[in-house]
Symmetry: C2
DNA sequence: GCAAAAGTGTTCTCTATACACCCATGG
DNA sequence: CCATGGGTGTATAGAGAACACTTTTGC
């Protein structure tokens, strides 16, 4: 029995001709929840392997726009913070040393119900892929599997499954890039609720950097950037001093992203 | 009269089928001479426009290897320091706002002597291009034009001609990337002669960063990295104190490139 | 009052920067 | 001796890390 409906198959066959061959885009979509950094993954219908959300570039579409489109399709979000970080051009990306998924893809095509030689050929081709990463608000995102996937879920980056192809490597490089970025741009607007405490922000930084930071120094460092506006205190009901709530001054925030943090 | 010989045309026609379609590699090859940062440019046979050395990726070749091959073909050098910095995927790269070279390419094909429809089609296609940059020793490089070019020359980056397509943008991005890199890795081994004075190194940094630096502070900063070995003094014949000569300790240098400069 | 967490202050070290000073060299 | 550029020293300001102290809150 075919995993795809006939209309899904025809839809892809029609679109396929309008894609640039040999090039794809993969998105590392990161979010923050339960004090953990999470990444949006897809689970393939075929053999159940996990992968990054990705797609192809239409012939009349800028590559950046393709990345935005993929992000939008998987999360429903339009996102400003979407960054290209690297292009993976190894010939044997599909035949990663510890990975036979390249072979598995081929075998899976008939399972899915694809029969046209052109389609089989398409998925057997070598693809160069460009990686983008985005930071989104998990609460606002509505994960949508694509037609090849049975599931679309947030997974903590600290406990990841083995991903297909070289997607573990892509994700790893995205996170290195993100940590690096943290030295140059402010972060958090798209990952935190409108109002948050300094502890919330610190936990976010700690989740990204993977290491604890010193409380008082963190506060000073962030406040010195002048991107936060101090609001009312949060009466949590806990037996301790009530922390201030903060929100981002969006003007300062975006100016700082453009200009970078004093370097 | 055709600008290409029949054998050049046939050679390309044969190779063409083995290239990945729609993707190219462009190399920003930088060198240092006369206290100036220079870039290797090619001058097209057709309309005489200047461009970055570039090429295509063979179907059985890693993209990084393609970049190394292009560098080798244009300079005769094998170079370790060759870095991918960005991939340019705009649909209308060839139709840059201030540039009509996309059209010029098409018109030039027949001038060159290409007649096969497949070749004409090849050059009319949209290409996504990945930029690499290298730092090489101009003294060791032997610039070689490719079959499409009439000249291959070092040009100072401070006085550049208008380049074809979006190559000015690519070069600009490479230099920003290089300046950024300067904060993380040591630099100079491939750009300076074996032995050099501290002033030589400083002039190099100033050429890359495009701004003057303080003499005594520069010296301390560099020496603290522990990548330089102090040699004998240079008796230049000038009426002033003789400066020390230095050379790189290659082990420390490459270790530092790998590990980065304390961040 | 007490525990817990927040806000603020202090100390120390390290770095960057600017500039001062003396040294070597050849005319 | 003097002009020129090289090597080293010093003073100051700012950043970052570690930690101490005080304040607020609910029980």
């Amino acid at each position: 029995m075919n995993l795809l409906s006939q209309s899904q198959i025809v839809a892809f066959e029609n679109k396929m001709e309008n894609f640039i061959p040999n090039h794809s885009v993969d998105c590392v979509i990161l979010g923050y929840e339960d004090q953990q950094l999470k990444v949006l993954l897809l689970k393939w219908k075929m053999h159940g392997g996990w992968c990054l959300p990705g797609g192809f570039i239409f012939k009349d579409e800028d590559m950046d726009d393709a990345a935005h489109r993929i992000l939008q399709e998987r999360t429903g979000l339009h996102q400003l913070f979407l960054n290209q970080f690297y292009t993976f051009g190894n010939q044997k990306r599909a035949e990663h040393p510890t990975d036979q998924d390249g072979r598995l893809i081929k075998e899976s095509m008939t399972q899915l119900g694809f029969t046209k030689p052109a389609v089989l050929k398409w998925f057997n081709k070598r693809f160069i892929t460009t990686g983008y990463f985005a930071l989104v608000d998990i609460a606002k995102a509505q994960p949508q599997p694509d037609f090849l996937s049975a599931a679309c879920e947030w997974r903590p980056v600290n406990a990841l499954p083995k991903l297909v192809l070289d997607h573990n490597e892509i994700l790893e490089k995205a996170i290195v890039h993100l940590r690096h970025q943290l030295n140059y741009v402010p972060l958090g607007l798209s990952l935190l609720p409108k109002k948050f405490t300094m502890q919330d922000l610190q936990k976010l930084y700690e989740a990204i950097l993977g290491k604890p930071m010193e409380r008082s120094n963190f506060q000073r460092k962030i406040l010195k950037l002048k991107v936060l506006v101090r609001r009312e205190k949060l009466m949590s009901g806990a037996a301790n001093k009530a922390p201030y709530l903060y929100s981002f001054d969006e003007n300062s925030y975006h100016r700082l992203i453009k200009e970078g943090i004093g370097f």
